[in-house]
């Protein structure tokens, strides 16, 4: 029979899952506002301004608009796949968070109880994230195919080819991190980077920065952001795989994209920038969760910053970078890392 402890743990886990899901669900709202604001300021404009002070209520207005918009399913579309494709895109983006730790433990000040800031301490955490993260491509492929439109189909095709090409480089980068930290467990990976900022994987010279560059370029391509968002390139494909989508289903795709961006930011921090460890030992009075959030926010800002700095690559350039630069580079880098670890 289940004991009281087990029941308590299940309840705690359920509460944690619910809270985390709510947070992730709400996250795209501030992120869309932030992205438009940053876009505006980089282009010497103001960005959203009229709804609320500094346009801060703009995402709510957008959400209401998307909710009440007519949900159009094209006549010749594959109805069932068209309807479930946005969900297929969204579910893996959330499922990834089962393995992502947001910190070690957190002591609630008044009660004194300790709460674990992760859902599961998975032995194969890094592999799980790679595997589940790769699944969200199905939403895009199936959505593109089911729309029965040439732009959507081309977007889906580009997306699948891009995903296959860059997943290799990203997995190699993760393998490099696993070699440096000696574990597939994300908590262990963070623990191995404790101490000062000199023990971060990013500063494991000379291979650390190379792994980080490979990881960053590869994951930007995998989450379909500029400069590699060829599968939703409005210049040539009108809107890529979600051309035919509108209303709520469209917003599911956008939700998946923003959550993926947050995931990649978190992973960059965990893999290369020491997770919730403080950069200097004397700064460790600041709680770890604050360090973690700060680093993640920097990366989120960085992705938006890059988006409004670089132009979009051509498709052949994308494939060339993937196959002719990143993959050979990562192979060489694995060799060097192995030699350094002997």
């Amino acid at each position: 029979m289940p004991t009281l402890d087990l029941i308590l743990e299940v309840i705690l886990l359920t509460v944690k899952v619910a809270v985390l899901t709510q947070i992730i669900f709400a996250l795209p709202m501030p992120l869309t506002w932030l992205e438009r604001k940053i876009a505006g300021h980089i282009q010497v404009r103001l960005g959203p301004w009229r709804v609320g002070p500094h346009g801060i209520l703009q995402p709510f207005a957008d959400a209401i608009k998307l909710l009440f918009k007519e949900d159009i399913v094209p006549d010749k579309a594959d109805k069932i796949l068209f309807k479930i494709a946005p969900l297929i895109a969204m579910v893996p983006a959330f499922a990834v968070f089962a393995a992502i730790p947001l910190g070690d433990t957190f002591k609630i000040p008044v009660i004194g109880a300790e709460v674990k800031l992760y859902l599961s301490d998975m032995n194969v955490g890094a592999l799980y994230i790679l595997a589940i993260g790769g699944l969200s491509v199905y939403g895009m492929i199936l959505g593109g195919w089911a729309s029965n439109s040439k732009y959507a189909l081309l977007g889906g095709l580009r997306c699948s080819a891009q995903m296959i090409s860059y997943e290799i480089a990203v997995s190699f980068a993760v393998i490099g991190v696993v070699m440096l930290s000696n574990s597939l467990n994300l908590l262990e990976i963070v623990k191995s980077q404790g101490g000062s900022f000199l023990s971060w994987n990013f500063l494991y010279l000379p291979v650390g920065p190379v792994w980080f560059a490979i990881f960053l370029i590869g994951s930007v391509a995998e989450i379909n952001r500029i400069p590699f968002d060829l599968s939703e390139d409005e210049g040539t494909l009108s809107s890529g795989y979600h051309t035919e989508y509108s209303g709520m289903r469209f917003s599911f795709f956008m939700l998946a994209e923003y959550v993926a961006m947050v995931t990649v930011s978190i992973l960059s921090v965990i893999f290369f920038f020491g997770g919730w460890n403080a950069p200097f030992a004397f700064l460790s009075f600041i709680p770890p969760i604050a360090w973690f959030m700060g680093k993640v926010c920097f990366f989120i800002y960085f992705f938006m910053w890059v988006r409004f700095t670089l132009p979009r690559y051509r498709y052949d350039q994308l494939m060339k970078i993937g196959w002719k630069i990143l993959i050979p580079l990562s192979l060489v880098n694995i060799l060097i890392t192995g030699l350094m670890l002997i």
């Binding site: 300021h41 980089i42 282009q43 404009r45 700095t309 670089l310």
Partner: protein, 192 residues
């Protein structure tokens, strides 16, 4: 390598490995990000007043005694390349105009007008001027043709006001329509 040089360009290689161009771009965009926006808060709080040479909606002027300068000579309608100005003269000795001949009808079709300013040039008495009114959008076609009575009214921005500045403004919503009321006392130069 584009210029056909043989051999390895070591310096260029190092530059591309260190992503120098990318970092340069990032620095530039970061600079813009923290710089002041140049957006005009039109129509809420600010409005752009054009220079005097701006060619906006037509105005019909009066002289210092309040008499109409227009003598209905029809030169403006002749000069107009799109034939959007209609002038019908009539006799009037009551001192409405500076001469006995005044305009019975003077109207301009703003949909056809291309604001070239030929009417202004052709006018012998400087009665026709292209003013600084540029908010010409409206809900139906009734407002596209401007009659003499409307054009004779004094302009919200007087001729004497030196333009080319951003002035304070107020956005007014009334049942009759929307308008932006400029407050000429507060003005600033536009950034850039």
């Amino acid at each position: 390598m584009e210029d056909g040089k043989k051999g390895l360009d070591i310096f260029g290689l190092i530059k591309s490995v260190l992503f120098t161009d990318f970092v340069k771009g990032l620095v530039i965009t970061l600079g813009y990000n923290v710089s002041r926006s140049i957006t005009l808060r039109y129509p809420d709080t600010e409005k752009w007043i054009p220079y005097r040479r701006w060619r906006g909606m037509h105005t019909l002027n009066k002289d210092a005694n309040g008499r109409e300068l227009c003598v209905a000579c029809e030169l403006c309608s002749r000069a107009c390349p799109t034939q959007c100005i209609t002038v019908i003269p009539m006799e009037d000795a009551t001192g409405r105009g500076i001469a006995d001949r005044v305009a019975k009808v003077w109207k301009v079709d703003l949909v056809r007008c291309l604001f070239c300013g030929f009417c202004e040039d052709a006018c012998p008495t400087t009665a026709v001027r292209l003013g600084r009114e540029y908010e010409l959008a409206c809900h139906d076609l009734s407002c596209t043709v401007k009659e003499r009575e409307g054009l004779l009214k004094p302009q919200p921005v007087p001729e004497s006001f030196e333009g080319g500045v951003v002035v304070g403004a107020r956005f007014v919503r009334t049942p009759g329509g929307i308008s932006v009321v400029a407050d000429l006392s507060k003005s600033r130069k536009r950034a850039l």
